[in-house]
Symmetry: C2
Subunit: 363 residues, 2 copies
């Protein structure tokens, strides 16, 4: 199938660009931080096919954000999976244990003893070991214990719980990824590193081995990689990028990999009702606007002017004309929730669809 034959709206990934992003991060880490492990976040793509490409380029495993993703990735044979999130039901704990029983190394995060109990019970019931990381809040203000002392106390409970192995800390600063200035991002991660390092120290002093400190994202990974504290990076969006990440300013004085936009929504002009206006068939159900509008960087003189359920409106600069049936590429504002709206990712080379990958939607 050629791109011209693809029905719209459709979620596309330009494969050479995505593969270059994957290679770029691996090369950077091989050169600058050879001891750091890369565990890309699969919540971005929800695709075992893309996860395999990341593993082939040197990633040691993947992260998931939902138990549904873990189940799909384990069924696809992904060997090492971290649920970078908490669970609070025995049903979800049992599904994690089932993924471990199927052969994957499965880890999960905790920030309270109730979660530890659920994981331990499920692991024992299946006769498997679940690996556990204590999540430390390093500035994201979401989940996580707030002090090194609380981390030690919880780590001790994990270490004593049958069926569980205490592996270390998750110390992810989500908010820092989208701070626009490199100085702000660096300062936020410096603070995260201080908190993580202090927690590692007290945990180690308590006699518990803290083998893993996992975190970082596409916006900050170079800082964590150079920190000497983090052992593992969770970058996800770098495979696709999006309009929001494109708004992050870069520090030109340091060498960091530059990732390119590989993900687009292919959309068709369905109406040109007035001069200077076109309406396309991709709306709120085809792309998430939570982090701002899509970018029309691939189409000079065309501005995004709003979306409703199944439409987006475009304003056309003087001299620009679009006709019913014309097709455009929108770069989503936020890649992760946009991908989750689609059942399929169509991989292409700019001309031909070379692969069709299912998206592990649902929970």
């Amino acid at each position: 199938m050629t791109l011209a034959e693809v029905d719209t709206p459709a979620l596309l990934v330009e494969l050479p660009t995505m593969d270059a992003n994957i290679a770029r991060l691996s090369s950077y880490l091989a050169m600058h931080a050879p001891d750091i492990r890369l565990r890309p976040h699969a919540k971005t793509h929800k695709s075992p096919d893309i996860a395999r490409r990341q593993l082939a380029a040197g990633a040691i495993g993947i992260c998931c954000q939902t138990v549904g993703e873990v189940a799909v990735m384990a069924a696809a044979g992904i060997a090492d999976i971290l649920l970078s999130n908490q669970i609070a039901s025995s049903g979800k704990a049992q599904r994690l244990a089932a993924a471990a029983a199927a052969g994957s190394r499965v880890s999960a995060c905790v920030d309270n003893p109730a979660q530890v109990k659920l994981l331990s019970e499920a692991a024992q019931a299946r006769g498997v070991t679940l690996h556990v990381l204590v999540e430390l809040d390093v500035g994201g203000g979401r989940c996580g214990v707030n002090t090194g002392e609380a981390a030690v106390a919880l780590a001790a409970i994990v270490a004593e719980s049958p069926g569980l192995s205490f592996d270390g800390l998750q110390a992810y600063h989500g908010r820092a990824q989208h701070m626009r200035s490199p100085a702000d991002r660096k300062a936020a991660i410096a603070s995260a590193c201080g908190l993580a390092e202090a927690a590692v120290r007290v945990i180690t002093q308590a006699g518990l081995p803290c083998r893993s400190v996992t975190g970082a994202g596409t916006g900050t990974f170079a800082v964590e990689a150079a920190s000497g504290v983090y052992t593992e990076l969770q970058c996800g969006s770098y495979v696709f990028m999006d309009a929001d990440y494109a708004r992050n300013e870069q520090d030109e004085s340091v060498e960091t990999p530059v990732f390119e936009q590989s993900l687009t929504i292919l959309t068709t002009v369905i109406s040109t009702p007035a001069p200077g206006r076109a309406v396309c068939d991709a709306g709120l159900k085809a792309m998430s606007l939570d982090s701002g509008p899509p970018s029309l960087a691939r189409h000079a003189g065309v501005d995004f002017a709003g979306a409703s359920d199944e439409h987006c409106k475009l304003n056309l600069h003087p001299g620009i004309a679009l006709a019913s049936g014309d097709r455009l590429h929108l770069i989503p504002g936020h890649c992760d929730p946009t991908v989750a709206m689609h059942d399929w990712i169509l991989a292409h080379d700019g001309r031909v669809v070379t692969d069709v990958w299912p998206v592990a939607r649902g929970w």
Copy 2:
């Protein structure tokens, strides 16, 4: 399955409340506007099961917003389907003709001659009749011709096109649905009525029968119903309602049906990391924030404080405590795109899941 056994996040509809909403609109129209036809919009629910309940309560057919919805509804045996939207590819026109060939009466909107040509070719190729409405822009500023003269010219092209039947006008004012003040909504629809009436007049003068004038939504339908211009109402959200519609002020001086919230996202507290804060497992991938945050009206003393991909944060008033594993009902900010994020709607009676309805996602 009881609600307590449902894995989260999950999309729930309280069936007695939804059925009461469906009955309330039908009774209102029977009493106040018996000549008006109701053609509810299925883009809200994407569910043939719910469409059948609307038809059983007197609706004469349904609207869809995508060809994918039309195909699913036709396959489910829905007899009368209006695509309240434009198409711009022969593939989509062929799918509409296939739905007609399968036995449904299928209509679609046009606002330019290229769309008419695609529909005519597809109808001829399948040996079916497609019904066509000329869309008139009555203030929404999205699709639609802008003058009565343009409407006549396009209606004449439709009337001359083999395989097509010219049925009338679509005159939907989407923007008016969400104007907060009843006076503003009334003024917007008064203007829409003037434009639609003028277009009907010139079309009729040109010798073309304009049997149908279709439009209106949950925010304004009482005005269109009383207008003497509209013949058909397209209300969709009234079955579910949402936090955004709840912000519309109502005119207490007139009797209009009051619809109640039947749609919720069931979510579980997965973390209580700090006093006054809880984190739940429904995020940007489980509910659309495009029209504002979800409402926590069912949970006193709990405020929505933000969402990320798979989390939402809640702030708890003094004296309010939540524990890991507690479950809450979030009322989505905007029902339509929220429904499209889910594969299933779980119908319940407040205690037990009584039905599981597939959502016609995709395009």
